[in-house]
């Protein structure tokens, strides 16, 4: 019960802090003081209190999309193990539900972008749905590897079962899919080198271009949903990279917090030392992720 409460608390409260850590890391690299760590919370709270401006072209889809984004991300967060214990909800095959929840969010976000009738948002939607066609197969190859290593078809079993005695030979595949999953994480959460969340040029955006017309509470929901997605996908990656637990909740939760904030810092470092790729080069990066995950699987079954 306590575990469930902490799980929910972390899932609901922690995500914006990750954005704060990323921004702070980038500021540190650039030699600036940067915004406070809690700035994303202030932003979201402020947005939630502001009034809406709606484009005259939009329909209910435009208003529904942020709700779908947030609720699917939170539901996905209930399917993964955070901290030491298992997930609140788990059943064989929940990994597919997990992956397809993000598909549902993508469908509505991209449709909402087209609802505004703006060329920029259409461009963003086109990029988002195209790149997903490459990152989804990579994700499923990674899930295949995890299923094979752990012998389980539920996310909890897969993500907590990679440290068993039989998993020693799986080190190389796990390393390969970690790289692949990291690229998928960067792509799905719209980070450099795939997308630049801070860009000011509409032509070069992906995710930001899709939400140009969202304002007030709707935009607050989108920011929050993106942060939850970062936490959820980041946790999956962490469980693959560092599947260690102490078996004691009071040690595991702090360990998890250190790990996830560390991951945010790593993303900040990547964002600081890399430039965004040219848009036509992004597919190569994603195919690279697909290759990492695919070769990981082949290594495993050889």
């Amino acid at each position: 019960m306590i575990h469930l409460i902490i799980h929910l608390a972390v899932l609901l409260i922690l995500p914006p802090l990750l954005l704060g850590v990323i921004v702070k890391t980038k500021a540190w690299f650039a030699g600036r003081v940067g915004a406070p760590l809690l700035q994303p919370y202030y932003d979201i709270f402020k947005l939630m209190r502001r009034s809406l401006v709606l484009s005259t072209t939009t329909t209910w889809i435009f208003r529904a999309a942020p709700l779908v984004t947030v609720s699917t991300a939170l539901l996905a967060g209930l399917l993964i193990p955070i901290g030491g214990g298992g997930a609140p909800l788990t059943f064989a095959g929940d990994l597919i539900f997990f992956a397809y929840l993000f598909g549902l969010a993508r469908f509505f976000t991209a449709s909402a972008a087209l609802d505004t009738g703006s060329a920029f948002e259409g461009m963003g939607a086109a990029r988002e749905v195209t790149f997903a066609c490459l990152s989804e197969p990579a994700l499923f190859f990674a899930l295949l590897v995890l299923a094979k290593v752990s012998g389980s078809l539920s996310l909890t079993g897969m993500l907590l079962g990679t440290t068993g005695a039989g998993a020693a030979h799986a080190t190389a595949p796990l390393v390969l899919i970690s790289i692949g999953l990291f690229i998928v994480l960067l792509a799905e959460t719209c980070r450099i080198p795939v997308d630049d969340p801070t860009t000011h040029l509409e032509l070069t955006m992906i995710h930001e271009a899709m939400v140009l017309d969202h304002s007030g509470p709707l935009f607050g929901l989108i920011l929050y949903g993106a942060a939850v997605k970062l936490l959820v996908l980041g946790t999956v990656l962490l469980r693959v990279v560092a599947p260690f637990t102490f078996g004691r909740a009071w040690l595991d939760w702090p360990l998890y917090l250190v790990e996830i904030l560390g991951l945010a810092a790593v993303i900040g470092v990547v964002e600081s030392i890399m430039a965004r790729l040219q848009m036509r080069h992004v597919p190569y990066l994603l195919v690279g992720a697909l290759l990492f995950c695919g070769f990981g699987f082949i290594l495993l079954i050889r």
Binding site: S51, L52, V53, L54, T56, T57, T59, I61, R63, A64, L67, V70, L75, L89, F91, A92, G93, D94, I96, Y100, L101, G103, L104, R106, F107, A110, S111, A113, L114, D115, T116, G117, S118, A119, F120, G122, M123, A125, A126, V129, T130, A132, C133, L134, S135, E136, A138, L139, F140, F141, L143, L144, A147, G151, E202, D213, P217, P283, L290, G294
Partner: protein, 667 residues
């Protein structure tokens, strides 16, 4: 008793179009009688289906047909399973037709359409209850020919005529292969009855040949790549509710044939499962990729049928693999996915075609790039299309997700046990899902959202209530299966058991292998959460009204509808990624000078099989047979003479020449 209900439904469906024929063309009663007949047939038949799924089909019934002894019909769970979509879509189609194809507007072909609609439904129902080669073939040909007349409903249009002829050729290649199949079956088993035989009866070579013939014959009907070439044209040029039944139900008859034959053939070799799985992977991926390249909403939906047939074949492949390797769990998951996707596809594809019909009805165009903003003028049709789109992408919480989940689970099990094709299948199915999302974002976003691109789209009005009712029924079915998959579990179990009859009598239930309760509960939670959030948001913002503004276009103050992103642009990156397969034709205009003249750019994607292989090959063949024309005099007497000569030659070869020679030598 239940079989009698089905027979009653067949009879009613077959005669439903007849009253209209004897009434004057101006009378509206013909269409009303037909719709009522089909509705009664559907209700009676669906009652029979419920009985059939419970295993209460009763004894087989012979119907006297002297040419082939007795044609036999019977009802088992598998037949009942496939009867359900036939009767449902067949029953609500004429209701939709009352608004979409009313007799007072379509005086010339309305009566023809309704006559052949009834015959099509009757033919398909006869086909699935046929237990004898002759009744099967009878149903098959009634179905094939009435579908031909339905595709050619608007035979004054060149496009319809061309599509229907291509369809007729394809379907007869399929029928001819079926003749070969049944002849071989007869010679190997000694009977035309379609009943499972013992493994000793059939040699392995015969079994392989039977499998190959069945794959070709039923693959053409199902629209499996690369035998799908007839499908996009035929489904695009028919009236929309005809496209709905062609795509949603008639294709499934190919799947039914394949499923039924594989139940008859004993001990499938492991290679068959891999072949079916590989064909499913190819059809699924190429189907959706071709769909993305289309500009015509109905052609796009037609290519999506190829994709979904691919997914269904993937399920069947897993089931076959499980059957030949003795993994009953794979059979249950694969067959469950295959069969449930048959139902699901018939629901959401009919829904999509009917909603597309409402678009054509309202905006008078099928070109996606000439639509836009339809969700304002026709909110109900837009909502119906949205439900169909989410379902066909396999997204939770609708029905498409449930069947894809079964297939995923089967693929995972098989892949972890070392099946190479299944390892390819998992990421490909993921890619298919993502591509389908891309494709339906393109259609839904361009056609229904944004601003109208043409005056016709701006003035589109909502369809009449007779067209909205069918949308509502189909959307409700999609939601029910998605939110409460436990409800369909008994039907799936009964059909799988029927398919495995004689192989593994105690097949486990799908409930134990797939998390039916889990996905149902999570889907319901998602819907409930969204509904609650929507109510809360609405209450909060009721006080402070949102301020309307124009869309942000980098500060440009007067955005116009033509500045919207088009469907073609949206698809451009994906078409580019798959350019080696699609080979899109793109014509870039030249723009030069200070004041360039207006120019136009074109791009389109041809079908690889029809436009790049079959048609050029046919043209070359026709050219090389130019000399043959001298035999073509256009005189009936001449042709009769040829027939006489041919018959004499054939008779000559039948003469016992060898015996005669031997007798002569012995003398």
């Amino acid at each position: 008793m239940f079989l009698d209900l089905i027979l009653l439904a067949i009879l009613l469906a077959a005669v439903s179009g007849l009253p209209g024929l004897v009434m004057p063309r101006s009378s509206v009663w013909g269409e009303r009688i037909a719709a009522a007949c089909m509705a009664v047939a559907a209700v009676a038949g669906l009652a029979g289906v419920v009985g059939g799924l419970r295993g209460a089909g009763g004894a087989a019934c012979g119907f006297p047909w002297p040419a082939a002894g007795n044609g036999v019909v019977g009802l088992d769970a598998l037949s009942a399973f496939f009867l359900a979509p036939i009767l449902l879509v067949g029953g609500i189609g004429p209701l939709y037709g009352l608004g979409y194809w009313p007799q007072r507007i379509h005086r010339r072909n309305g009566r023809k359409l309704r006559l052949f609609w009834g015959l099509l439904v009757a033919g398909m129902a006869l086909l699935v209850i046929g237990r004898h080669a002759m009744s099967f073939l009878l149903g098959w040909e009634i179905m094939a020919l009435s579908a031909f007349f339905l595709v050619a409903t608007e035979d004054e249009r060149k496009e319809s005529r061309r599509a229907s002829w291509i369809y007729l050729v394809a379907t007869h290649v399929s029928t001819l292969t079926l003749f070969g199949l049944f002849a071989l079956w007869r010679s190997a088993t000694g009977s035309y009855l379609l009943e499972p035989v013992s493994p000793e009866t059939l040699r392995l070579g015969t079994r392989h040949l039977l499998f190959l013939l069945a794959l070709i014959a039923f693959g053409i009907k199902a629209g499996m790549m690369p035998l799908h070439f007839w499908l996009p044209g035929a489904h695009a040029s028919a009236p929309c509710h005809v496209s709905a039944i062609l795509s949603g139900v008639v294709l499934k008859m190919g799947i039914y044939g394949l499923v039924r034959w594989l139940a008859l053939l004993p001990v499938p070799p492991a290679a068959w499962g891999s072949i079916v799985l590989a064909l499913g992977v190819v059809s699924g991926l190429l189907g959706v990729v071709y769909a993305i390249g289309q500009h015509d909403i109905k052609r796009l939906l037609a290519y999506h049928s190829v994709e979904n047939i691919g997914i269904i074949l993937m399920g069947l492949g897993i089931a076959l693999l499980g059957r030949s390797t003795g993994h009953v769990g794979w059979v249950v998951l694969g067959m469950g996915g295959c069969l449930l996707h048959v139902w699901n596809h018939s629901l959401f594809k009919s829904l999509l075609f009917l909603a597309a019909g409402a678009v054509v009805h309202g905006a008078h165009t099928r070109q996606i790039d000439r639509l836009g903003g339809l969700a304002r003028g026709m909110p109900w049709s837009a909502a119906g299309f949205l439900v169909g789109a989410v379902a066909i992408c396999g997204l939770p919480p609708l029905n498409g997700f449930v069947s894809e989940l079964f297939i995923y689970l089967g693929l995972f099990h098989a892949a972890l046990a070392g099946s190479a094709m299944a390892m390819v299948g998992v990421p490909v199915l993921a890619a298919i899902g993502a591509l389908a999302v891309a494709c339906f974002v393109k259609v839904y976003g361009t056609a229904f959202l944004g601003v109208a691109r043409t005056p016709a789209a701006a003035h589109a009005r909502e369809a009449p209530v007779t067209m909205r009712m069918p949308l509502l029924i189909l959307a409700a079915c999609c939601a029910v299966i998605g939110l409460a998959p436990v409800l369909v579990a008994p039907a799936l179990d009964a059909s799988t058991r029927c398919w495995m009859a004689g192989v593994a009598p105690g097949t486990p239930a799908i409930r134990g292998l797939a998390p039916l309760g889990g996905i149902g509960a999570l889907g319901a939670a998602l819907v409930a959460g969204l509904a609650a959030a929507a109510v809360l948001g609405r209450r909060r913002h009721a006080a402070r009204r949102a301020r309307p503004a124009i869309t942000w276009d980098c500060g440009y103050a007067r955005p116009s509808p033509r500045m919207q992103y088009t469907a073609t642009s949206l698809a451009q990156m994906i078409v580019g990624l798959f350019a080696p397969v699609l080979r899109p034709h793109v014509q870039h205009p030249r723009v030069d000078g200070l004041f360039p003249a207006p120019v136009a750019a074109h791009s389109h994607v041809d079908d690889a099989v029809l436009d790049r292989m079959l048609l050029p090959m046919g043209r070359r063949l026709a050219n090389s047979f130019g000399w043959f024309r001298r035999f073509q005099r256009g005189l009936t007497q001449n042709y009769m003479l040829y027939i006489l000569i041919m018959l004499l030659v054939l008779l000559g070869t039948l003469l016992p020449i060898r015996a005669m020679v031997e007798r002569w030598l012995a003398r």
